[in-house]
């Protein structure tokens, strides 16, 4: 049980990275981005391309760091993939969402177009990598360390938690301390007043997509390291992503973090009672319950 909770925290922290991006984008442009899960897969696959092709080709050695399942190649691929997916997210905004925004399109139209974007990303992955599950390091044994209370955790998982925690702290500092971060919060509060104050809101929107895309990529790669890569991974993330976002009150990044952890733990712990194939249903049922009983989420309702 404790072990399942720990696995839930690991999975939940990955979901949190996606949910934070989703909630950031929603906070500013107010539409449900159904392509967010596939931005996560895109990150995982860009990193795969780097690790197995690009970096191998330049001759970066394929060694591991200590007990971890990856080495220099992943260390380089990780930030590169974050930037690449940030660029993809910004490009999607430029060629798709910005035009719809300019026409003052309804949020449903925006959401539908993001569904289209999701299909495109997923099909591109299918075309280049096929439909099978892949690993960053196929065939490698991944031993777990044994902790007291009979908890077995892989070193990779500990590192995942450290990475997620660091990214969240960095994001917090960015939003609280930098001029752009404050402008992002201001724009989420009141876009018209932001414009009136001289804030270049189009630039803020661009930065928001970049941040959301980068965090999504990080989440996707970490999932790939923890479990495996699959073209439909992002699609399967969508329900937990939205459940986490709604639970944590849409627009609230700290809420998304908590929401992700709760959903992750609930999904993993449920496997003690249910068949693991029902895991996605747990997030779905939780989402329905939240929408029925607390539609504004745990941090909503004050204003």
């Amino acid at each position: 049980m404790i072990e399942l909770t720990v696995y839930g925290i690991v999975f939940g922290s990955i979901i949190s990275l996606g949910a934070i991006g989703l909630t950031l984008v929603f906070g500013i442009i107010r539409f449900a981005n159904f392509a967010h899960g596939d931005l996560m897969s895109s990150g995982a696959y860009v990193a795969l391309f780097m690790v197995t092709s690009a970096l191998a080709w330049i001759g970066i050695p394929d060694t591991n760091f200590g007990m971890l399942s990856f080495g220099w190649r992943m260390l380089i691929a990780f930030p590169v993939a974050m930037f690449a997916v940030a660029a993809i997210a910004i490009a999607l905004d430029r060629i798709l969402y910005r035009k719809l925004r300019a026409k003052k399109s309804h949020a449903v139209i925006m959401a539908m177009s993001s569904l289209g974007a999701a299909f495109i990303l997923r099909m591109l992955i299918l075309i280049f990598w096929g439909a099978d599950s892949l690993f960053y390091r196929p065939g490698m044994l991944r031993p777990a360390i044994e902790f007291p209370l009979n908890i077995k955790i892989r070193p990779d998982q500990i590192l995942i938690l450290i990475v997620v925690f660091s990214l969240v702290v960095l994001l917090h500092l960015y939003l609280q301390k930098t001029k752009m971060g404050k402008a992002m919060r201001a724009t989420a509060d009141n876009m018209e007043l932001a414009l009136v104050s001289g804030i270049d809101t189009e630039r803020v929107i661009m930065m928001t997509w970049g941040l959301g895309g980068g965090l999504a990529a990080a989440g996707g790669i970490l999932y790939g390291i923890d479990v495996q890569l699959h073209p439909y991974m992002g699609w399967n993330f969508l329900i937990p992503l939205f459940a986490a976002t709604i639970l944590g009150t849409v627009g609230n990044i700290y809420g998304a973090l908590v929401g992700g952890l709760v959903i992750g733990i609930a999904q993993q712990v449920s496997t003690a009672f249910l068949m693991p194939t029902y895991k996605p249903a747990v997030a779905f049922i939780l989402m329905i319950l939240i929408l029925l009983f607390r539609p504004k989420g745990i941090f909503g309702g004050k204003e």
Partner: protein
């Protein structure tokens, strides 16, 4: 010297219906111009047209001698005009200080001196700078909104109904602040429901009705005008 003019402004929110028709307004340097008139006269629409939130169908906005018609609000702000909307004029989840910093977004220099000047003008804001603006009372919100607009050291300040929804004693306080801001050299256009008070402090006043100019004169003359008194000042 004339600092801002709106010439023959025709504007509306849809292409079919114009709220304003051929409205003219002139602001002289250092003056307070008050725009009064009944509800729906187009007073707020006029400010939005000047600030670029609304693109006029016809007419010209000039700042000094520069044509600024059709510029986006963030560009108008860069030209030295600030605007305080009537509602939703603070960032509720940001602290008072952050609200003021956002007012200075277009400034790349060190604005800490200006920040202190704002805190001197509104001491209560300085005492609560870490508080979220969403938790403030109406009068304090209005101060945050005006403080935010003043952060860029504007040459022209546009105020949309600064006294709306405030208790009478606060109305007086806000008008006193407006006069002291004006004394620092900021020219202003004020749109007000509270017509009598607005004309009292105005150097010049305009009466709008049904989206057109009806009358304009010095503030004192409009106050003394019988027709204005009967129609717009409540007897």
């Amino acid at each position: 010297m004339t600092i801002l003019t709106a010439e023959n402004i025709t504007a509306g929110y849809t292409t079919e219906v114009n709220i304003l028709t051929d409205v003219n307004i002139r602001l002289e340097s250092g003056q307070i111009v008050s725009v009064i008139g009944p509800n729906g006269a187009g007073k707020s629409t006029l400010l939005k047209s000047i600030f670029g939130i609304l693109k006029p169908v016809k007419g010209k906005i000039r700042l000094k001698n520069e044509d600024i018609t059709g510029l986006k609000p963030n560009n108008v702000a860069q030209k030295g005009i600030s605007y305080v909307p009537q509602v939703d004029n603070v960032f509720p989840s940001l602290t008072i200080q952050e609200n003021l910093e956002m007012g200075a977004f277009i400034r790349d220099d060190d604005f800490s001196r200006r920040l202190n000047e704002i805190y001197e003008l509104f001491p209560v804001l300085g005492e609560r700078k870490k508080q979220k603006a969403g938790h403030l009372s109406g009068g304090q919100r209005q101060m945050v909104a005006m403080g935010r607009a003043l952060m860029v050291d504007p040459t022209v300040l546009l105020l949309d109904e600064p006294s709306a929804g405030l208790a009478p004693n606060l109305v007086e306080m806000i008008f006193e602040k407006i006069i002291s801001i004006n004394k620092t050299g900021v020219s202003m256009i004020i749109v007000e429901q509270n017509a009598r008070e607005a004309l009292k402090m105005a150097d010049y006043g305009y009466v709008l009705a049904m989206g057109r100019n009806v009358l304009d004169d010095t503030g004192d003359s409009l106050l003394a005008n019988e027709e204005v008194g009967r129609l717009y000042l409540g007897g």
